[in-house]
Structure formats: structure tokens, C-alpha cells
């Protein structure tokens, strides 16, 4: 299922971001490799504290500094490394070619400016148009994202909008310069189900219309299943598993992916089908050694998982897993200890 290299829009290689706080160094992102193809929707799923949002900020180069710092890695967009660009060049890409929407529409809009001001700000910045043209363009884009009577509401302040409408304003702002890549950081988490469905539908429709790639960050497997073409599962600063959505949901290879899928109520599951991952999400100041999932993993190979970081294993083109069950070291360990570690393809009953 892999696509030709010229189809690649964004490639992240070995990204590493730490936060240097009073309490200690928060190792938010240890090593991340992601590919985003043209006009595809990539889901980035993980629980709170797994480093999803930091990944997004790192791509745009707006990690709050201090305390955050990107230590290593490349962010290759259209063949150029964004991290090597000057600040001024980077600003031309931000909001223009790569746009971002945030989790909480209540706090991500500046309360003292009208939404029209805030949308046209980006247009004026990147497209060298007059104020009046920018305003007209913002009205157009606001009605495009489904804000009724946009020509009146353009002069309203954010507090006069409801949560769903504010998220639409955020989307309008992100779309205003026809970006090639949209990073949507939990765009629907703080919204109600009915509004969430509207917003997700809007994202889907606009991505088709603008031929735009989306990185959709969320913790909700349901949203991923509805929206994405490919999915990357993140845990504590690492990507555990990347692959095509159908494959991942049908036969996850990583124990964490499996646990995550088992922990959510599936459409046809019963009470007994809920499985749990024991333990809690680790503190990233002092994370577990090597594979950070090993203390919670049912397949923990003692002496291996906690000492050597598993390398990325390609199961098939486009489906990568970072787990010792599939590495050479892991196979050697299993042979040596005479224990077999295998992931049953799917939590029970889910398919039948």
C-alpha cells in the first residue's frame, strides 16, 4: 500500500523534543517518524501525555521556548527541512502552507478582536491583499465553513459564538490561505457529539475540496475510524505502530494498539468484551527505560524490553511496528527462554 516517494508531503525523521522544567526534563517526544502523503488524512492517536500536541507544535516550530526545545530530527516538507529554515521563511509557511487548529475553541481565539479581524489577519499576512479584500475573503470562507449570515457575523467577537461555531471560525482561519497541510489537534474533543459530527464532516468535505492533507490528532478511536486513511499510534513519545486504518483496526500488531482497541466499547461488543491496560501512563520526567510501554505490557520480555529499544519493523510496506515481538532480538529471546509471545489478531468477539 505504499505510495511513490513524490507523493510524500511531509516527512518527520527522528524528531526529539524535551521540556526543561523546574521539576526536571520532560522527555515529551523521544523519537518520531511520520510520513504524510498528499491529500490523505493521517490519524495520530494516543492518550493524554503521549506527546501528540507537542508533535504538532514541533512540526510548526512553535514549541514554547523556554521551557521546550527541539533537540534532533528533521521535518521535511516539500523536500526542504523546515528546521533549517530561517525564522522569517518559516513564518511564510506557517498559516500559509501548514495551518493548525486547536483543541479548545474557547481559548484559542483572541477574545478582544472580532473574528473577521482574526481571519483576515492571516490573509493579509500571506497574500498581500488590502484590508477590504481580506474582509470579503473572510466572509466568503466563513460561509464556506457553514457559519450562517457570515457577512454580519464577521464583525462579532468570539464570545458571541457558541463552541461549535467557534471551531468553525478556527477552521475558516486555518483554511483562509488554502494550506496544503492542516494539523487538527483534537478538533472535536471539547464539543458535543452532534456538533462533533458536524465539525468532522466539515473537515472531511473541505479536505476533499481543497485537496488538502490532514494530520488529525485525537484520543478517540471512533473519530480515527470515521475520518482517517492511515493511523499512527503514539505512546509516551514514541510511535508504536503506523499503518493503513483497516489493517490497524482489524489486526493490530503492537500490544498497546491492541489494548487501546480493546478498551473502547465497539459497536457490537458486550460488557465482558471490555479489556483493560493495567497501570497508568508514565511520568515523562522519569519514563520507563527502553520500550516505554513495557511495565504495562502483557508480553513483556524481561531483560530485553526494558534494556534495548526495539527498532522499527516493517510488517508490510506502509505498516511499521516498534515492538520486540517482531525484532530479531525478540525472536532470539523467545527461543532462548522457550516462551512464545504472539498477539492474537483481535480482541475476542469483535468480528463475530
Amino acid at each position: 500500500m505504499s505510495r511513490p516517494p513524490e507523493d510524500v508531503l511531509l516527512e518527520i525523521k527522528g524528531l526529539k523534543t524535551y521540556f526543561f522544567t523546574e521539576e526536571g526534563v520532560v522527555k515529551a517526544i523521544e523519537s518520531i517518524d511520520i510520513l504524510v502523503h498528499k491529500s490523505e488524512t493521517l490519524g495520530l492517536v494516543g492518550e493524554s501525555g503521549s506527546g501528540k500536541s507537542v508533535t504538532a507544535l514541533s512540526i510548526l516550530g512553535i514549541v514554547p521556548d523556554p521551557p521546550g526545545k527541539i533537540l534532533e530530527g528533521e521535518v521535511i516538507f516539500h523536500g526542504q527541512d523546515l528546521r533549517k529554515l530561517s525564522d522569517a521563511d518559516m513564518r511564510k509557511i506557517r498559516g500559509n502552507q501548514i495551518a493548525m487548529i486547536f483543541q479548545d475553541p474557547m481559548t484559542s481565539l483572541n477574545p478582544v478582536f472580532t473574528v473577521g479581524d482574526q481571519i483576515s489577519e492571516a490573509i493579509i499576512l500571506h497574500q498581500k491583499v488590502t484590508k477590504k479584500e481580506a474582509r470579503e475573503k473572510s466572509i466568503k470562507i466563513m460561509s464556506l465553513v457553514g457559519i450562517p449570515s457570515a457577512d454580519e457575523r464577521v464583525d462579532n467577537y468570539p464570545f458571541e459564538f457558541s463552541g461549535g461555531m467557534r471551531q468553525r471560525v478556527m477552521i475558516a482561519m486555518a483554511l483562509s490561505c488554502n494550506p496544503e497541510l492542516l494539523i487538527a489537534d483534537e478538533p472535536s474533543t471539547s464539543l458535543d457529539v452532534t456538533i462533533q459530527a458536524q465539525i468532522l464532516e466539515l473537515l472531511k468535505a473541505t479536505s476533499e475540496e481543497f485537496d488538502m492533507s490532514i494530520i488529525l490528532i485525537t484520543h478517540d478511536m471512533g473519530v480515527i475510524a470515521e475520518m482517517c486513511d492511515r493511523v499512527a499510534v503514539m505512546y509516551a513519545g514514541f510511535i508504536c505502530e503506523v499503518g493503513d486504518i483497516i489493517i490497524i483496526f482489524k489486526s493490530p500488531y503492537h500490544p498497546y494498539t491492541r489494548g487501546l482497541l480493546g478498551a473502547i466499547p465497539r459497536p457490537d461488543a458486550a460488557r465482558e468484551d471490555l479489556t483493560i491496560i493495567r497501570g497508568a501512563i508514565p511520568n515523562l520526567i522519569n519514563p520507563p527505560s527502553a520500550c516505554r510501554f513495557h511495565p504495562r505490557c502483557d508480553y513483556w520480555m524481561e531483560g530485553l524490553c526494558d534494556t534495548i529499544l526495539p527498532s522499527i519493523v516493517t510488517i508490510e510496506p506502509g505498516h511499521d511496528v516498534r515492538c520486540h515481538i517482531y525484532t530479531e532480538e525478540g525472536k532470539a529471546w523467545m527461543q532462548q527462554h522457550g516462551e512464545k509471545r504472539e498477539i492474537s489478531t483481535m480482541p475476542k468477539k469483535a468480528t463475530g
Binding site: T194, Q196, A197, A225, P267, A270
Partner: protein, 406 residues
């Protein structure tokens, strides 16, 4: 603890105080019904600051009258009082209403049987949490009654209520906010024993430790502070506190919606396990429909302070009738990429519940809306003994559940 039930105890207390026993309203209830909520309403008054202006105008006017040497015989207080009451009746000043009613809960009925998990679902701002708090009388209802084992708890005095509170408990949504940050786990869980004088000293500490064990925490957690626990562990503490007095009925106010996916499943397991072990009854409030579907025996769908549809979970999820329920269920994202469903999109957002228009609450977003919806409250339509939906424009059904009793 004596063997007398709290109903007897309350009765005895009343006799001791020489109160008329009819002060408490009781109701014949079937043996297996734990809680019955009848037409419960909770309105909040939002005062409009104009009232202060009246006061100030009255004050200023009275003082001015007084300062320029009164001959009409008004005293300063008299001036204030008279003007304060007069001004709202004088045309320029009586234009604005004194208060706005926020109808958080606008007449709901619930019928909760022993050992069942009853779900209450709805979007944010529909009054779920207010309903929960009003049911266990953390808020005083505006109208309606809540019968717990046949006793109308809203008629009880605070002393009698304290007795009832041992049997009605609540678990809150935010596990961090619901624990006193300056108390250890031990202090938090021993609190119910201290309040009710059930146990003290080592006996209480022993009970605390066994409660911790029951909810899956280790004894060494006892002297930690809330901030040292993870989210899931905090919620376990909250559950332990609710369990301390061995209640019959627990309101679960979105107990897992603030937790991470992997932890969420563990808490749900715990809740179910405890129900098995202790024979508890839950009112489970949630906005996550897929959770309600697998967890609850009965489901009530709420919208803007009113129940839209209720029935057993199977009836609601397989055979929903109300347009709102249909839209709500279709909007839930399904964690299966092969089953991307066609959705029913509701237009617009949830309106505010302040001074709502007459008629059906759902009229502003309903795909089936007709003229009658804007005038009259929708009638009940029964589709089985337990399945009821409130809508003008749905087909079939009977006008009362009696049709199915046979």
C-alpha cells in the same frame, strides 16, 4: 449500628419530637423500586442587575428628600423602603423582568429499580448534572418530588436528611476537583465515618484500608495526597468514599469522561464488579453513548431539561423513535473503519435554556418540526411497557403503557 431501618428511625425521631407523621409524604412503592422521580424541576434565577439600580435610585432619592428638610413625614428608612417597593411599579422602571429563569431541569420522571444501571444521556448543558444533584438533594428542586424507598426526601429536615444521605451517594466527574487537595486518601475516606459517627480510631482506619482494597488500591496509598495519584486512582478514591457508608443507590455523574481511554475501561470494570458484589443501584450519567449502550440496563435521553425518550437500552439503541435520539446515536463515531455510517446532522447548536419558548424543546433543531411543535408540549407515545418517546410527529405507539400490561 442498630437493626432498625432508616425509615423506622426517621419515624421514631418524629414521634420523639412530637411532629405530625403526615409531614413526610410517603408513597406506596413496589418492593424492587429504589428511587422514583416525579416531575422534577429545577430552575435557576438569574437576577438582572437592574434591581440594584432601583435600590440606588431609591436611596439617592430618599436621601435627597431627607436632606432638603422633609415635611411629608418620611423617615430615611421609610423613604428607601417605600421607593424601593414603589419604583418597580412605576412605568419607566418596570420594563425589565426581575429575573430570568434558567430551566436546567424542566420536569423529568425516572423510575429506578433495584440492581439496575439506569443511564441518563444528553449533550453538555442539557441539565444532566443538575438533575443528578437535585435527585440526591444537593440542590433544592423548584417543584416535583423524589421518593427514595417511598419517602419524599425533599420534605425532610436536615437531621433526617443526614440519615438518608448514608444511602444515597454520588461520584463526581472530575476526580481531582472532587477530592480535598489538602487531605490524604485516609482523611478523605474516613470523613463519612466521622460525620456519621459510624466508626472511629483504629476501627475506622481498618475500614478505610479494606475500602481501599475493595476499589483496587494498596494500603500504602492511604497517606498520599490526591495530587500524588493518577487520574484513575483518584476516581477509585472517589468511589471508595461513596461506598464507605454502604449506600443502596449511587449517582455516577460522568465518572469516566475525564479519564484516559485505557484507564476508563478499568474504572468501568470496577463499577460493574462492585455492583455485583454489593448489589448497588446506579444512575449512570454520561454523554458517551457507546458506553451507555454496553453499560446500562435502561436509558433516558435528555435534551434541555426534558426527557425525550426512555426505555431499555436495547429498545433505545435498536428501535429508537425520537428524531433527537436518532440524530444523537447516528452522530457517535463508530470505532470500526469498515462501518462508516451515514449520519443525520442536526443543524445549529444547543440553545440556551434561559426562558425557553413554549412547545417542544427540540423544535429549533428538529428535522421533523411542524407548527404544533411550537405551540404544545409533545405527548407521550409508548412503544412497549417501558419504551416511551415524546414527540408530535412520530408514528405508531400507544397513548399509555397500559396497552402493553396484558
Amino acid at each position: 449500628m442498630s437493626s432498625e431501618t432508616f425509615i423506622e428511625k426517621i419515624g421514631r425521631q418524629q414521634v420523639e419530637k412530637g411532629l405530625i407523621s403526615s409531614r413526610i409524604r410517603t408513597k406506596e412503592m413496589k418492593e424492587d423500586v429504589v428511587l422514583e422521580v416525579i416531575n422534577l424541576k429545577k430552575f435557576f434565577n438569574i437576577p438582572i442587575p437592574f434591581e440594584t439600580t432601583w435600590f440606588m435610585l431609591a436611596f439617592v432619592a430618599a436621601v435627597v428628600v431627607f436632606a432638603f428638610n422633609i415635611t411629608i413625614g418620611l423617615s430615611i428608612m421609610g423613604g428607601v423602603v417605600v421607593l424601593y417597593f414603589l419604583l418597580p411599579n412605576i412605568p419607566p422602571f418596570n420594563k425589565r423582568p426581575k429575573v430570568a429563569h434558567l430551566k436546567a431541569v424542566d420536569g423529568i420522571d425516572l423510575h429506578i429499580r433495584r440492581g439496575k444501571i439506569v443511564g441518563l444521556v444528553g449533550e453538555s448543558g442539557c441539565g444532566k448534572s443538575t438533575a443528578a444533584k437535585t435527585i440526591i438533594r444537593l440542590l433544592e428542586p423548584t417543584a416535583g418530588s423524589v421518593y427514595f424507598k417511598g419517602i419524599d426526601i425533599n420534605r425532610l429536615t436536615s437531621v433526617e436528611m443526614k440519615e438518608i444521605r448514608r444511602h444515597l451517594q454520588i461520584v463526581f466527574q472530575d476526580p481531582y476537583a472532587s477530592l480535598n487537595p489538602r487531605a490524604t486518601a485516609h482523611d478523605i475516606i474516613i470523613e463519612p465515618f466521622a460525620i456519621h459517627g459510624v466508626a472511629s480510631g483504629d476501627e475506622a482506619s481498618y475500614k478505610v484500608l479494606s475500602l481501599l482494597k475493595d476499589v483496587g488500591l494498596a494500603p500504602h496509598h492511604a497517606y498520599r495526597y490526591p495530587h500524588e495519584f493518577s487520574g484513575g486512582q483518584r476516581q477509585r478514591l472517589g468511589i471508595a468514599r461513596a461506598l464507605a457508608l454502604e449506600p443502596d443507590f449511587i449517582v455516577m455523574d460522568e465518572p469516566v469522561s475525564n479519564l484516559d481511554v485505557s484507564v476508563r475501561a478499568a474504572i468501568i470494570q470496577l463499577i460493574l464488579e462492585l455492583q455485583h458484589k454489593m448489589g448497588l443501584t446506579y444512575l449512570f450519567i454520561a454523554h458517551d453513548l457507546s458506553l451507555v449502550k454496553i453499560l446500562c440496563d435502561e436509558t433516558n435521553v435528555m435534551y434541555l431539561g426534558k426527557i425525550m425518550e426512555s426505555g431499555t437500552s436495547d429498545e433505545i439503541f435498536e428501535n429508537m423513535m425520537h428524531p433527537y435520539t436518532k440524530a444523537l446515536i447516528s452522530a457517535v463515531p463508530i470505532a470500526d473503519p469498515t462501518k462508516r455510517s451515514k449520519k443525520i446532522f442536526l443543524t445549529g447548536d444547543i440553545p440556551t435554556p434561559i426562558n425557553p419558548p413554549p412547545g417542544c424543546k427540540f423544535q429549533t433543531r428538529c428535522p421533523l418540526v411542524s407548527d404544533i411543535c411550537r405551540l404544545e408540549e409533545p405527548p407521550a407515545r409508548w412503544y412497549s411497557k417501558s419504551h416511551v418517546a415524546y414527540c408530535h410527529n412520530i408514528e405508531g405507539g400507544e397513548e399509555s403503557p397500559e396497552a402493553y400490561v396484558k
